[in-house]
Symmetry: C2
Subunit: 283 residues, 2 copies
């Protein structure tokens, strides 16, 4: 049986003889973006190293990944170091690096993560799922023939704020609350049961808000991605292979960087994760 | 002349003879919280080490701090390491540690930051400042006599979602969009010209959303704080010693952790920073 493309990309070999915190992997063409791999898969690889670490305590609650430079095709090394372990929480520092052509180590991403053993407490959702059309009534966004590869790994069904159909430099909406808003149903293609790693990758699927806001495809690149995990593994298992609803909205676009605030709900309305990112753009 | 309490807390001595990335400081009683220093001042100290580093490139665009454990009164060491420097961007890894009673190094916080040389580009604000009463028409929140110390370092004027006056366990609002929303004017007390470090600290001034949401003072502690800096130093200088408007809203409260999404505008309506945090709560 061939592994699902998502699991194939996450294969990591412990280098425990060299360093208990070190893992080796290789980039996957199935997840290629314009320059280097899709950021979501790189973030998923980094948090996977935490899960594979023999000392890992609990489940993830927070992850931040900073993309320091595009990865090149080939081998990479992940360092996932538990720098402080408390009674029920654990703090991690993460790096992914590759060797450059001269054999020097080049840091491709940095990150921090926190895992925790969670206990049942008073809970409430202050960000209810928006009422939108159901996925089977929405058309799937079919990747154009010249699409980057990673887009084909997802079934995406935009209900609000789709990719502009005309790149004419005209803003899509004058209503600032909706100008840079996208809502879309999403699941892995082929379907795959949701887990923390795939939820991490899905936090990065939103096309750049600046493209929606300007109807111009300026060069862009995510530089920082944060995911707060509100679901436990049981709630992720309940979401199964179904669609999740993602929502993202830009807040400020200023002098080369914009940010985005987002949410991901299960189809039944559980807020699984909230996410934020900062994105570089040119011009 | 005595230094402003904020600047006094940020005094760091380079330990460049030991390590070019190392700085020494000491905790400040003026910023004490329940257990350990106010998280905002610790985050400000960490990013200050980046600014003091001789290799620092540009101005901050992104900062994430994870609070790994309460700091104790006394000396601490900051490591701010530039792990990758590109043409116009630079990536940092941060730790603050203290020695425990047995002389072992204990990591108090971890972090990552990104600095950049920014260029003027197309810019727009998709998160306009809410229309609220002006600061001089709003009463200052006077710290109660038994208040923690750091509260006295700010002039805070809540316009929406103040600290509950009665701790009766009743939710403040049934409207989910406003249930955990706070808007407040804030400035340093005594007034001090805004800069990146003080803006960082202000991102952490919002009292815990769970207290507002439940009208119960359950034990809490911020575990992760992210700040995206949309302003450059010129725009911060324009904000000067004036009030800024902070807004924060909870999104999900689930099994021991809640998150908060926030914004900080200058009085003239420039979105200076957006911020997010994840907070531990008990029960």
């Amino acid at each position: 049986m061939t592994a699902h493309p998502f699991d194939a990309a996450l294969q990591l070999k412990p280098d425990s003889e060299i360093n208990p915190d070190q893992f080796s992997g290789a980039t996957s063409q199935a997840w290629w973006n314009m320059v280097g791999p899709f950021g979501g898969i790189s973030a998923a690889i980094a948090i996977s190293a935490v899960f594979k670490h023999p000392d890992c305590l609990g489940e993830p609650v927070s992850l931040t990944i900073n993309f320091a430079g595009a990865m090149t095709q080939g081998d990479f090394t992940v360092i996932a170091k538990p720098v402080r372990t408390n009674r029920s929480t654990q703090h991690w520092m993460l790096t992914v690096h590759q060797l450059d052509s001269t054999g020097q180590e080049l840091v491709a991403l940095t990150g921090t993560a926190m895992t925790a053993v969670r206990r049942e407490t008073w809970s409430v959702n202050d960000m209810p799922m928006p009422v939108v059309e159901l996925p089977h009534t929405v058309e799937r966004l079919l990747p154009p023939s010249k699409s980057v590869e990673w887009i084909r790994r997802y079934d995406m069904r935009p209900v609000t704020g789709p990719l502009p159909s005309v790149w004419d430099g005209g803003a899509p909406s004058e209503d600032p609350l909706h100008a840079s808003l996208t809502q879309l149903w999403i699941r892995d293609e082929p379907p795959r049961a949701l887990n923390f790693a795939s939820l991490t990758a899905m936090a990065d699927v939103f096309f750049p808000r600046v493209w929606l806001r300007r109807s111009v495809q300026v060069p862009v690149g995510t530089v920082s991605l944060t995911v707060y995990f509100h679901a436990c593994s049981t709630q992720l298992a309940e979401a199964g292979t179904g669609y999740v609803l993602g929502q993202a909205r830009g807040q400020a676009f200023r002098n080369g960087f914009f940010d985005q605030a987002g949410q991901i709900w299960s189809k039944s309305g559980t807020l699984l994760a909230t996410t934020h990112q900062l994105v570089y753009y040119k011009e």
